[in-house]
């Protein structure tokens, strides 16, 4: 069977820091994978490697051709209106091959989906953090991605904004009749979110994968303890 993503003994050095060490994993289409671990464990770096933002120093990375989108913790919006920000995101993706007016039409639809039609002409840089994250989500949604990367998308948001983003992501990743369901890979410190979204959890420490389990097994203390003592201690620390 061909995997959507396949990493074989991937290592990455950023400057003098060994960001990833000997990472091997496969991810199939439709999986919802959570990357968890302490700060600096390599979650965000792994997401960036998968999104093609970092080239690996060693090892092999195989990624099937598919439409990708990535959401960052703090999205960057240009000092122009919201509609143009979303339109530009679509127009820049040459794989979509959209002309400006086509991208704009799709952007309008995306803004409506995330409930930001009312601020479509407002300067995006002046929107609240939650609204900017919704705008980033609109930019991702409009690309109809087969593979979605989220890098702690709700970490810098207040509880109401967090709930809004969670609901929208849930809507995007919910199983549909689509024969090609969306694959989600996300980094998070929020264990509740991990339970709600993920079908599989990968625990990283110092750039290494120390546990890779189905979500139910990961949150089963006995099972996790057997699998990885470090991951068990991390989870205990997070939940205590």
């Amino acid at each position: 069977m061909t995997h959507l993503i396949s990493l074989k003994q991937v290592s990455l050095k950023l400057g003098h820091v060994q960001a990833l060490s000997d990472v091997s994993l496969t991810i199939d289409a439709g999986e919802h994978v959570a990357l968890i671990g302490a700060n600096g464990s390599g979650k965000s770096t792994l997401l960036r490697v998968l999104n093609g933002l970092h080239s690996v120093s060693e090892g092999q990375l195989q990624l099937a051709t598919c439409r990708q989108a990535m959401l960052f913790q703090r999205p960057h919006m240009l000092r122009t209106d919201s509609l143009t920000n979303v339109t530009l995101g679509l127009w820049l993706d040459r794989s979509l091959g959209l002309r400006w007016h086509q991208a704009k039409a799709r952007a309008l639809e995306a803004l409506s989906v995330v409930g930001l039609s009312g601020v479509k002409l407002q300067n995006a840089a002046t929107l609240s953090g939650g609204q900017q994250q919704r705008l980033a989500l609109a930019r991702a949604w409009a690309k109809e991605p087969e593979l979605l990367f989220l890098d702690e998308p709700t970490a810098s948001l207040d509880p109401p904004a967090k709930r809004e983003i969670e609901a929208l992501v849930q809507q995007m990743i919910a199983p549909k009749d689509d024969p090609h369901p969306m694959t989600l890979i996300f980094a998070s410190h929020n264990l509740g979110q991990v339970k709600r979204w993920a079908s599989r959890v990968i625990y990283l420490e110092q750039g290494r994968i120390l546990a890779d389990l189905p979500t139910a097994d990961f949150f089963n203390s006995e099972c996790l303890k057997q699998h990885s003592q470090q991951a068990f201690l991390f989870l205990q620390g997070e939940t205590s």
Binding site: R48, N51, L53, A69, M70, F72, P75, H76, L78, R79, T80, D81, T84, L88, G89, W91, L92, D93, R94, S95, W100, L121, Q122, N123, A124, A125, T126, R139
Partner: protein, 245 residues
């Protein structure tokens, strides 16, 4: 002390009497420096923005050279351009020596490194913070440098003002390549140098005050513009539509 008060009075009289000699020189100064600033900034900001987002072998060397050129002495620039434009020089066939074009060329050469170095820093900072998001969206180096430079347009406006300051206050290069010919290539700074050497200190200082007033007025305009932008930023976003088809 009387020199200062005499100068202030002379400056006031020159300005209020709309002295044609003064305004011709001031106009020429503005013409040369504003044109050189626009041309130099167009080249320098484009170069700086690209250097800000791109990574290539030898980049550190390019940046070192660029930063060294920040301290380029204007008389050295004047001398090199003089040699290039002199009758026996490689560009002598242009016949630009002791002309407006020669002064323009000298000031462009002085402005480009300033514009490039400062805008490189502005764009590099924002690219370091957010560039990967635009890379993730599919923006290559060229698109990213255009987008981020445009996004930082207010910061770059300050760069333009700094460049204008560099150009209009420069004396060595325009003196050498322009020749300080009355009614032809005499500008504010060369006129000040000449009047000082003639011992007419009040007039020299008066011209200095006028020069300072021009730069101050332009800075005031910039401050008012930024204030207006800040107030209108929420309601009137600037459109990108013009350059994207």
């Amino acid at each position: 002390m009387s020199t200062f008060s005499d100068s202030a009075l002379t400056a006031f009289q020159l300005i209020t009497s709309l002295d044609p000699g003064l305004w011709t020189i001031a106009g020429r100064s503005l013409g040369v420096s504003a044109t050189a600033c626009l041309m130099g900034c167009a080249i320098g900001i484009a170069l700086g923005a690209y250097l800000g987002v791109s990574r290539f072998s030898g980049r550190a060397m390019v940046l070192t050279v660029l930063n060294t050129f920040l301290a380029l002495p204007s008389v050295v620039v004047g001398l090199v351009i003089y040699l290039l434009l002199s009758r026996t020089g490689p560009l002598g066939f242009l016949g630009w020596l002791f002309s407006f074009k020669a002064m323009l060329l000298a000031q462009v050469v002085l402005v480009v490194p300033v514009a490039a170095a400062l805008s490189r820093q502005v764009v590099e900072d924002v690219d370091a913070a957010h560039g990967e998001q635009w890379r993730s969206l599919g923006a290559g180096n060229f698109v990213r440098c255009v987008l981020l430079a445009w996004n930082e347009r207010f910061a770059l406006l300050t760069v333009v003002v700094a460049c204008f300051g560099r150009a209009i206050s420069e004396v060595g290069a325009v003196m050498i390549v322009g020749g300080n010919i009355e009614g032809f290539t005499r500008v504010m700074t060369t006129a000040i140098a000449l009047e000082t050497s003639k011992g007419d200190l009040p007039l020299a200082l008066a011209l200095g005050i006028v020069l300072l007033a021009i730069v101050g007025f332009l800075n005031l305009l910039l401050a008012l513009f930024r204030h207006w932008q800040d107030r209108h930023q929420q309601s009137k976003p600037t459109s990108l539509r013009g350059w994207v088809t």
